[in-house]
Amino acid sequence: MTTAVAPPRSEEGLREGSRRGIPSHGKATPWLFLAPYLVLFLAFVAAPVVLGAWISLHRWDYTLPNKPFVGLDNYVRLFDTSSITAAQFWDAMQATGIFTVFSVPFLLTVPLGVALVMNMRFKGRNFFRAVYFAPYVLGVAVVAVLWRYLLDNNIGLVNYYLGLLGLPDSTPWLTSSPAVWVSLVGVTVWWTLGFNAVIYLAALQDIPGELYEAARVDGANARQQFRNVTLPGLRPVLGFITTITIIASANMFGQSYLMTQGGPGRQTRTAIYQIAETGLRNYQMGTAAAMSYILTAGLMVLSIVVFWLFRERKG
């Protein structure tokens, strides 16, 4: 892969010159540099997007030889309220919706608060930053297995310490609703807080100090400085963080797979969980592909709304 590079063409290089220091090269050279990535991209991103749409138009059972074309049947059935498939799918979409609605606000605000504090100058700043970021490197499996233990309603640390504080100490955190949502959201915030905080912090450090200087000269207090300098300075990154956080929350899987197994009942079985089980355990891939297209369409609409909300405003 690294040997496939075109030889230099010196005449062409002289003819074109090099505006802004970009030297000339053969026509094929950039494509040879891009080729290894493009091969992977075509095979595992572009082709799947098309193939997924194709599958969703078929009754595609992995284990059966015939995969008849059924048009939009899979989609129609997912909107037919009397079918069990549809009921289960929309329950799962609802679970994804609940988790997203309750997790995203915390995942946007708590890390911002942490980043604002970390942006001050004080001893040990890097140490604290490293500590808050640490859970993120552990991955969802370790985090979920660990918290299932901590949240165990009989022997877990959480109920034990709640009891010591004189609070209710027998909440079934993983087997009753709405406590289960508190657990899933709380663990997710614990796990990924540092990730968003680090992105916020970088953006905060990019805001020119003179802006605060000017605001202070104008007599702005801390709150006014936050409103008029910090928030506008964060706008581009806010749009980015909001979008990736929504996508991440809407794709929540490991926490519920490992901590609640989708329970109690099927209440925390998220859309992606349902899609994976439908397509890869029960091999109803046509239905599962249709589900993933509906979920993706929803997310795209949401992303566009977010993009529009955080767009650069003129004037």
């Binding site: 690294t2 590079v5 090099s18 220091g21 030297p23 053969g26 050279t29 950039p30 494509w31 540099f33 290894p36 990535y37 992977l40 991209f41 095979a43 595992f44 991103v45 799947p48 997007v49 193939l51 997924g52 599958i55 992995y62 942006n119 001050m120 100058r121 808050y132 970021f133 640490a134 859970p135 490197v137 552990l138 991955g139 969802v140 499996a141 370790v142 660990l146 299932r148 233990y149 022997i155 877990g156 640390l157 034990y160 614990w190 450090q205 990019d206 805001i207 100090g209 996508i247 809407a250 794709n251 797979y257 992606i272 899609i275 397509g279 890869l280 355990r281 891939m285 993933s292 979920l295």
Partner: protein
């Protein structure tokens, strides 16, 4: 360099700053830090408890007596070959990181330092791919991987996720930042495009390469959904998928589960402790200049 919202700039005397506020801040910071560290400490502590103590109440912070029984048990259980999982994870994450770094560096260099028709389109597609929800790829990629006869092999978790839009974006941003005189000087020395890339740009990119390699390794090491569904045999699991197997087999054997979790955490935590700067800087740069 750091600007603050509440403190005056350096040099201005902080006469009326109450000491109390700094103390309150430290107390809050330490409490929050405890909330982040204590679960990890408890995980390690529990992995050295006996079966009875791990399931006992009230919880204890010092194993009495400390024992390595949990480790011996999971390392020797035939249904849960933890060492094999460890090797699998290590191989997959290393190979995946190498593949991501190689393909992203080449593509990022072309997008940043070469002019050609279609560059804008390719870059636009890369950026758009950053926002493609992974859920849309699961079902079709399972079929593609199946066609390639990669199901239940490590190739299934090494290759498909190596198509990293993030990696290309990341390396492109890095190469864009290099000064324009770079190629100028290289070309005066008679270097061709490949030599410019290989001998001049690449050595300068070492920190960026290290960061991307680390982030890719971490992502692959921790990946969960995909390995759970494409790897079936006990001996071909990765550690996160294996933890799931371990949990199914030993629902309330928290001593065993914590030992497994510790084993799955050691490499990434060690990397984090020593290479933290690269990891945090890599993440912090991912949100900028989008």
């Amino acid at each position: 360099m750091a600007t603050t919202t509440t403190r005056p700039p350096a040099g201005v005397p902080t006469r009326r700053k109450p000491v109390g506020r700094a103390v309150v801040r430290y107390v809050l910071l330490v409490l929050l830090a405890a909330l982040f560290i204590s679960p990890l400490v408890y995980m390690v502590v529990t992995s050295f408890k006996t079966r009875g103590e791990a399931a006992g109440f009230p919880p204890t912070w010092v194993p009495t007596p400390p024992t390595t029984a949990a480790y011996e048990s999971i390392l020797n259980a035939p249904g849960t070959p933890v060492l094999r999982w460890f090797a699998n994870s290590l191989m997959a994450a290393t190979a995946n990181a190498a593949l991501v770094v190689a393909t992203s560096t080449l593509a990022g260099f072309a997008l940043a330092r070469m002019r050609f028709r279609g560059r804008g389109v390719v870059f636009g597609v890369v950026v758009a791919t950053l926002f493609v929800p992974p859920v849309i790829l699961i079902i079709p990629n399972y079929l593609i991987v199946g066609q390639l006869a990669w199901l239940n092999t490590l190739l299934a978790i090494i290759v498909p996720t190596a198509a990293s839009a993030f990696g290309v974006f990341f390396m492109r941003q890095f190469f864009v930042g290099l000064p324009g005189e770079l190629e100028e000087a290289a070309r005066l020395d008679g270097a061709n495009q490949w030599q410019t890339f290989y001998k001049v740009a690449l050595p300068l990119a070492r920190p960026a390469l290290a960061t991307l390699a680390l982030l890719s390794f971490l992502t692959n090491w921790n990946d969960f959904l995909w390995p759970v569904y494409v790897l079936f045999s006990p001996e071909i699991q990765t550690l996160p998928a294996g933890l799931s197997t371990l949990q199914t087999a030993n629902a309330v054997r928290y001593d065993l589960l914590m030992a497994g979790a510790v084993i799955a955490s050691i490499p990434v935590l060690a990397m984090y402790v020593f290479l933290q700067r690269y990891i945090i800087e890599g993440v912090s740069r991912s949100g900028l200049k989008g």
